[in-house]
């Protein structure tokens, strides 16, 4: 980027020279630059003999009105394409980092209840008895263990009040491994989207006066409204109190911070006595967990960035490559070796989570200046790029 900037600035210098002439210092700069390479000198000569008529022809081919119209219709088309991608119907769309095909979706858009396919299995449900069921292994799953309490769909577990046979405060724990993604509907109708490498503990039936669940990892909640029973999500570092609302909690701590992002309603995020924040829709709270006792504060991170995973995207906004790799590790269930070789470079772009790991690594490879990847089984070695 720095080098491109330099060339843009030289371009401005050239233009100034031809129109007005330069002062001594500028002239010296330009002459030094011309001597740096043959290409430089060639570009300089080309510019000196440029015919403005030819330029007019070059730049007037484009109808700005038509292009702006096209741009608007592309933006408007985004929502539909997002929905398709999330529902898993759309063919793989190859998205590139930085220069990516970005999908636009409106903040108000209703999210599709379908859940993307889990790339790999191993979703486990721990019952209050301590018995563990592998929900991904439908063939060997003894469905009677949860019968009466919950209904198992593809990639979704649904607890239903009307069929519940238990009245005891029994707890279940749902564990989503790396490389998977799951959807849970709690007994009160609250919907939970669980991201990879996450676990949630919840009662099969909620208590009379409160609804409490415990989360590790990342999840998006759409809480059923019930003002008599406030809903609370507990995490290691903070708790989120809600009435009826939808929000995302991310406790991965990839960049040393944990986040709560509110889509609708009101939530209170509390990390300790006198360390709480009430969020308005669209706001994101962050807590730095690298040092104890840090204050909760509003984040520069956007809501869309926080909930992109649920919409079927990786969303990077000036994200350091090292943090990106952590997200990729969780989603594709791979491990990067020698991640220390990754520099300070940051990237911006959206990528569909429907792309294969190879495509994704290709996209990153194209963008980075100095690293390359070599994959052996589930291990990805980071090596220096050979030119």
């Amino acid at each position: 980027m720095e080098t491109i900037l330099k060339y843009i600035k030289v371009a401005h210098l050239l233009c100034k020279e031809r129109l007005f002439g330069l002062n001594g210092k500028e002239l010296q700069l330009l002459e030094d630059w011309r001597r740096q390479s043959e290409r430089h000198e060639k570009s300089y000569q080309l510019f000196q003999h440029l015919d403005p008529e030819v330029l007019a022809h070059r730049y007037e081919r484009i109808d700005a009105d038509r292009q702006w119209g096209e741009f608007r219709s592309r933006l408007a088309g985004r929502r539909f394409r997002v929905w398709k991608a999330v529902a898993g119907i759309a063919a793989v769309v190859c998205l590139l980092l930085g220069g990516s095909y970005l999908f636009y979706w409106n903040q108000e858009s209703v999210s599709s209840p379908e859940v993307a396919d889990s790339p790999m299995g191993g979703i486990r449900l721990v019952l209050s008895s301590g018995k563990t069921l592998n929900l991904s292994d439908r063939k060997h799953l003894d469905i009677r263990q949860i019968e009466g309490n919950a209904v198992l769909h593809d990639n979704q577990l649904e607890y239903r009040m009307d069929t519940l046979t238990t009245t005891e405060p029994e707890y279940n724990t749902l564990i989503v491994p790396k490389g998977a993604f799951y959807h849970l509907i709690l007994a009160d109708g609250t919907k939970v989207w669980l991201n990879s490498d996450s676990r949630i503990e919840y009662p099969i039936v909620f208590a009379e006066n409160r609804r409490e669940v415990t989360l590790q990892g990342e999840a998006f909640f759409e809480v059923e409204k019930d003002s008599d029973k406030p809903f609370m999500v507990k995490t290691e570092n903070f708790n989120v109190k809600v009435l009826g609302t939808s929000f995302n909690i991310n406790t991965y701590g990839d960049d040393g911070k944990v986040y709560t992002a509110l889509q609708q309603g009101v939530v209170e995020v509390e990390a300790g006595p006198e360390n709480a924040l009430i969020l308005a829709p669209g706001q994101v709270a962050e807590l730095d967990i690298r040092q104890p006792g840090m204050r909760m504060k509003l984040s520069r991170m956007s809501l869309n960035q926080q909930i992109a995973w649920k919409e079927g995207f990786f969303c990077f906004r000036s994200t350091p490559l090292s943090d990106m790799l952590k997200q990729i590790e969780r989603y594709y269930d791979v491990c990067f070796v020698d991640a220390a070789k990754v520099g300070e470079e940051v990237y911006t772009g959206d990528i569909s989570r429907n792309v294969s790991l190879e495509e994704l690594l290709d996209a990153i490879r194209l963008q980075t200046t100095n690293i390359d990847f070599r994959m052996v089984d589930k291990v990805v070695y980071i090596i220096e790029k050979r030119d």
């Binding site: 491109i4 330099k6 290409r39 510019f47 007019a56 741009f71 590139l96 220069g99 194209l366």
Partner: protein, 190 residues
């Protein structure tokens, strides 16, 4: 409802209307793309998608307008190379030509040429037809007297047109003139 009004806010405090930026710069970036790819529709598509990326970018992501321009050039170039890589077109290009297209130097030279040519075009086309004529003849190396003869006006009128034109051009280039300081810093680093 989608809202098509958006401002691009820069870290240095600059604010720009997205639509204006799009309309002002689309043809420049399109022309840049044609340096890599011959198919007009593919070029349009690449520039369109790049602007979508910019639309989605959070505020204050770019420190300055120049950095935004640099980012767009880089993005377009990567998209174009990727397109060449993933399509059969690659086979129609000679290996040597492809190597040239993929080189860093080719990108830098392309940025330099496009940016300088477009700036010159914008500067001249913003003038009145009379002033434009004077400046074009001046750029061809003609003297005031020769210009006066060709345009059938007096030398005094030529001079006054030039004065107006330069004032206008200075206005347009003002943004870039203030950058000169940084250029020196960058050259020193090298």
């Amino acid at each position: 409802m989608l809202v098509y009004e958006k401002q691009i806010k820069f870290g240095d405090g600059d604010v720009l209307s997205f639509e204006n930026f799009f309309r002002e710069n689309f043809s420049k970036f399109y022309a840049f793309t044609t340096r890599f790819i011959g198919d007009n529709y593919v070029c349009e598509d690449i520039v369109q998608e790049t602007f979508i990326t910019i639309w989605e970018t959070d505020n204050y992501h770019y420190e300055t307008l120049l950095m935004l321009n640099a980012f767009i050039y880089k993005t377009i170039r990567n998209k174009a190379l990727n397109y060449l890589k993933h399509h059969k077109i690659r086979k129609q290009y000679s290996q040597k030509y492809l190597q040239e297209l993929e080189s860093q130097e080719y990108m830098y030279t392309s940025v330099l040429n496009e940016e300088s040519h477009y700036l010159l075009y914008k500067a001249i086309s913003s003038l009145t037809p009379q002033c434009q004529q004077v400046i074009k003849l001046h750029l061809e190396g003609k003297s005031n007297k020769e210009i006066a003869e060709e345009m059938k006006i007096s030398v005094v009128t030529v001079k006054s047109h030039k004065l107006v034109a330069y004032k206008e051009l200075r206005n347009i280039l003002q943004h870039s003139l203030s950058l000169m300081l940084y250029v020196s810093v960058i050259f020193l680093k090298k």
